[in-house]
Symmetry: C2
Subunit: 200 residues, 2 copies
Amino acid sequence: VNERLAQQLRFIVEIDALKEVVRRTYVASGRRLENSAEHSWHLAMMAMVLAEHADQPVDVARVVTMLLVHDIVEVDAGDTYVYDASAGGDKAERERAAAERLFGLLPPDQGESLRTAWEEFEAADSREARFAAALDRLQPVLLNVLTLGRSWREHGITAERVLARNSTIAAGSAALWEAARGMIEQSVRDGQLAPGPDDR
Amino acid sequence: VNERLAQQLRFIVEIDALKEVVRRTYVASGRRLENSAEHSWHLAMMAMVLAEHADQPVDVARVVTMLLVHDIVEVDAGDTYVYDASAGGDKAERERAAAERLFGLLPPDQGESLRTAWEEFEAADSREARFAAALDRLQPVLLNVLTLGRSWREHGITAERVLARNSTIAAGSAALWEAARGMIEQSVRDGQLAPGPDDR
């Protein structure tokens, strides 16, 4: 095995750990929490199926690449709950160090290329990145609705916060934001999601 | 939500069940068995990183699409162990019915497109499909080696069978087959994989 292939295999082995990074959302059956590797697969499938709902035409392959890569830093940095404001402080720092180490395992040209995809996702500046981010928000809303709001309730999350946090879906897709908002409002009506204090 | 988006969301919800289809291979830490959704993510990452080792140039995006989709039929048909000869009989039939139902949830144009990707993978006739199949074989070899041959031993699999079953890696990539064969032979030398009766 030449050195280049050895580096690539090392990276592939190292990222296997993403299968053991546990998120706060339950899989649709409610039987267990989701992990970041299967979450990434689910998002990539969503990109292929929902691309037509992006507000601006997107390069689907680029969206898929970003979504496959977007959580890899969690192998070192762990998953940060989207509603956890306190984790904000050193999250960026920890994830930068993780990107350095993990993408640094690869031959430089490839490490640079995957790191660029991760940075594009994080910056949310391109239309592909905004659409990818929209899917990354829509998917847990979908799973929360399917599991009758369980994860939201366990963490004391209100509709007010869910709507505020996920309104960024609208930056990638008006149609998907309309669908997400409809689901969130239905969850409130069904008593599965508490309205925020401001809504009472 | 219009009817087309409703169909797409229905499909996305339905394939969530792939996260609960358990394979025979352990994740690299050895803590639990791998599921088919995270396996698909891992393969898609491998395609992006290892594409240069395909014997013939491949369209990486096409390989990724096939790998993301290749196990979806298992939502209905279950995972068939690669060394399970007895399952061969009705496997094709069960998977065809699963493809019919699952891809049939989507709007016809999209269902047709994903089904075509799955069929291309199954036929293993294009260079992209042969490379995708090579990765699908290489990945469990890698995980078996990392977990010191545990899954092989638990199922009484010998090196003879591992070499025979995985030699199809060579149809997609001589370099990856050389690497895989080296790992398999090392596992035999390390006493983690029994040689076949013919090797004794």
